[in-house]
Amino acid sequence: MTALPRWRAGALLAAAGSALLTLALARWAARRYEAAFARRSAATTAAYLALVTPPAPVGADYSLPQLFIQTRSLNALPGWTPRVEVYHGTAPLLEAGAPPLTPGVLDRLRGQAGASWRRGVALAPLFDRDRWDVVGAVAIRPVGIAPGWLGGWTLPALALLAAAALGALRTLGGEWEAVRRALMAYGAAGVLFGAAAYVNVQQAARASTDQWLADARLLMQEASARLPQGRPTLVDLAPLAGGAQVAPGDSATTRPTRQQVGGVPSAVVEVRLSSRRWVELRTAPAEAGALPWLALLLPLALIGPLAAWGAVWAEREAARPQRLRETAAAWGFLAPATLHLAIFSFAPILLAVYVSLHRWSLVEQERPFVGLANFDQLVRDPAVWIALRNTALYTLTVPVTMVLALGAALALGRRTWTARLARTAVFLPYASSVVAVALVWQWMYHADFGAINWVLSLVGVGPVDWLGSPNTALVALMIVSLWVQAGYQMTVFLAGLQAIPRDYLDAARVDGAGAWRRLRTITLPLLKPVTLFVFVTGIISAFQVFTYVYVLTGGGPGHATDVVAYRLYQAAWAFLQFGSASALSLLLFVVLFGATWGQLRLLERRVQYD
């Protein structure tokens, strides 16, 4: 058993690495929020200084002594946390002995909008009074945003994790029940540890918003107190607000709070400009967008437990190298498909859930968390209900098509050349381009020159405006679908019929059963699994009909042919509301779950394991 220590060492290494990586990622994420705060704060501070500092005697520059005084008093402001330094040109103002900026830095600040972040300091350009040239820079060193490496609950969680990991590794090779329990404990500790690390990130995110709101509030109040001409207007204050909204407010608590503003969670603080004048500063809370970090932190924290589990398994299997080899080979064979499904099938479902809880547009930068607002909007939207109704009506094509297809399969099951020719013909629509089929039907449906109305006129009916009238448009689409799907379904039914043993039918015939009776008592019961399959897959695909609607009617006239897929397409690509579109996707998922579940069960029945 020389392999024992090797597996154990590997598992130990993985455990340590997993814990360390989780901590590092959490720290990095928190630092990112810290940097975001500092950059925003630097821009606000620069705007504040530009507002309150009197001009130099000549030019658009500021009075240097005044700039010095204003900066000094900033650091002395009660409640102000970050350390501020101002560079006039490249020279530091407060700490004359500190190294100056390099000229290149100023040039870069000129070129970019907003502040930069380097080595724990955010630098924002200080524009002259004409907002034309950059005359210096404001440096912000944040304090107290990101918790330390082991801040918050991470230290106790880490201790727990270490104890669980050592416990699990000690039981390795022992009794299976004990090993299993130890591994479970290790896994639970891993989850806890990942969650603790996430809480730190979440807190850093929250602190970055709160701290900025608090600081911006201080600066706004300070500006209104200092401005010589008295009350600053909202336009004056707008640069201080950065990307946040300034709205009229009222006296309330002066600490940042979380509120729903127009259904969107916002971070809000009240700012007192004078005894009578209050404004409200609103911004998107950073912690609302922190959830993706959990999706990264948890897997990292679980690498350790998974490695331990792998070590346990490998030790147990070490005695059987063939099995070990086969497992390794299997995972090699499975790797491409598994990876692809993880990225393009499983991750999208989680992403859909995440996006559906946000107001999510490709063009807007802000993607605030809105809770269930998207779903709420959907169920209140009459167009969605109309689309659901139309889709449900559209699925009625499935049973109708099935009856026709089964009839065709019964009639064409023979081996004569006419039957073969007819089979080929009936299948043609399914084997041809979908859009081409849609186009020829649109032409045939043409109200004035279409072939269908001409045929109808021969028997004295019509003309019917097939696609232009709300009464017939959906039926017209259903006819196209029937025309296409019949061949496909017939083909599946044919296979099902061939699988029925001839002896049964012959025996029934000998017993004197008629054709109808044979069909009802033998063929249909034996065909049941196939029928179910055709029905279930038919419903699933009918619910997702899109191309015919897009080409033939565009959902119209009115909403007469608006279906779920078209609504979803419109929501996402016409209105760019991806949050709403995701919510609709999930709604469809729920509506179709019965059918897809049936499909899975039917397939499972066909699968044999050995």
Binding site: T327, G407, F449, T547
Partner: protein
């Protein structure tokens, strides 16, 4: 059935077959009609000479040569990718023993619980984040694995007698060699079936290319045809000429590979 009833049923079905073929003939006839003659009423098919010039005119109204190339590239890449991933995964599921295999297979199948439409938006967001919108990578990447393909090939691989592999194993062949030299050559019909089905599926796919391809150069035939419909709304001969051209490759494939086609569809429903 009685003789008369049988003849009646057959007649009915032949009528249905005729009904499926007539729209195709109407498509072809309109494609060969002059632009204004198409608006005569009652509709008369091809009066006077056949207007073959509709075809080059319609196909250059939009760059259909490029569309066909795109469709061919995308469909071919997807077919190759699906054969590759499906065959490998199916081999592991059908032939190798490893812990959790059956549960994992069920996990793969559970992807079928999720309708394709549900994946549309999040997949688009992922592809967009990868910067693949309006590229071949965006058109192809999401389609490279087919759970149906894995399912079908697994079913097929299980019918191959194990003795053949055991002989190779005795000769010291590894799993990869057995897969390449024994299983794949014996599975040619199944692979051809899957290839034909996934090629046609890909060629017919509309919604994904519609949202992924933005520029004219990246459009596939189906979307190009829909765009032509929007641009030449009243010019039915042009639209029909393009429609005929778009249908011909698929119909040719169907007529040539009918056997695989039918078997593939029957395998999904019955086997």
């Amino acid at each position: 059935m009685t003789k008369a009833g049988e003849r009646f049923a057959l007649g009915l079905v032949l009528l249905a077959a005729l009904a499926t073929v007539l729209p195709f003939l109407y498509m072809l006839a309109t494609a060969l009609t002059g632009q204004w003659e198409a608006f005569r009423y009652p509709p008369a098919l091809i009066r006077g000479r056949a207007h073959f010039e509709n075809f080059p005119a319609a196909l250059t109204a939009l760059p259909f040569d490029r569309f066909f190339l795109n469709s061919a590239i995308v469909a071919t890449c997807v077919v190759v990718g699906q054969l590759f991933t499906s065959a490998m995964a199916a081999y592991a599921f059908a032939r190798l023993r490893f812990p959790g295999r059956d549960r994992l297979f069920l996990g793969f199948l559970s992807v079928l619980l999720v309708p394709a439409l549900v994946l549309l938006v999040p997949r688009f967001l992922i592809v967009n984040a990868l910067g693949w919108v309006d590229t071949y990578a965006g058109l192809i990447s999401t389609e490279l694995v087919s759970v149906w393909g894995i399912f079908l090939l697994r079913q097929f691989f299980r019918t191959i007698p194990r003795e053949l592999e055991d002989a190779a194993r005795l000769d010291g062949a590894g799993e990869w060699t057995i897969f390449r030299r024994v299983v794949l050559p014996l599975s040619k019909p199944a692979l051809a079936t899957l290839a034909v089905l996934s090629f046609v599926d890909q060629w017919k796919s509309f919604l994904w290319p519609l949202v992924i391809a933005r520029s004219t150069e990246m459009q596939v035939v189906e979307v190009g045809l829909a765009n032509l419909h929007g641009l030449y709304y009243a010019n039915w001969p042009y639209q029909m000429a393009a429609a005929v051209t778009a249908t011909v490759p698929l119909l040719l494939l169907y007529l040539v590979a009918q056997r695989y086609f039918i078997r593939g569809i029957q395998m999904t429903g019955v086997t």
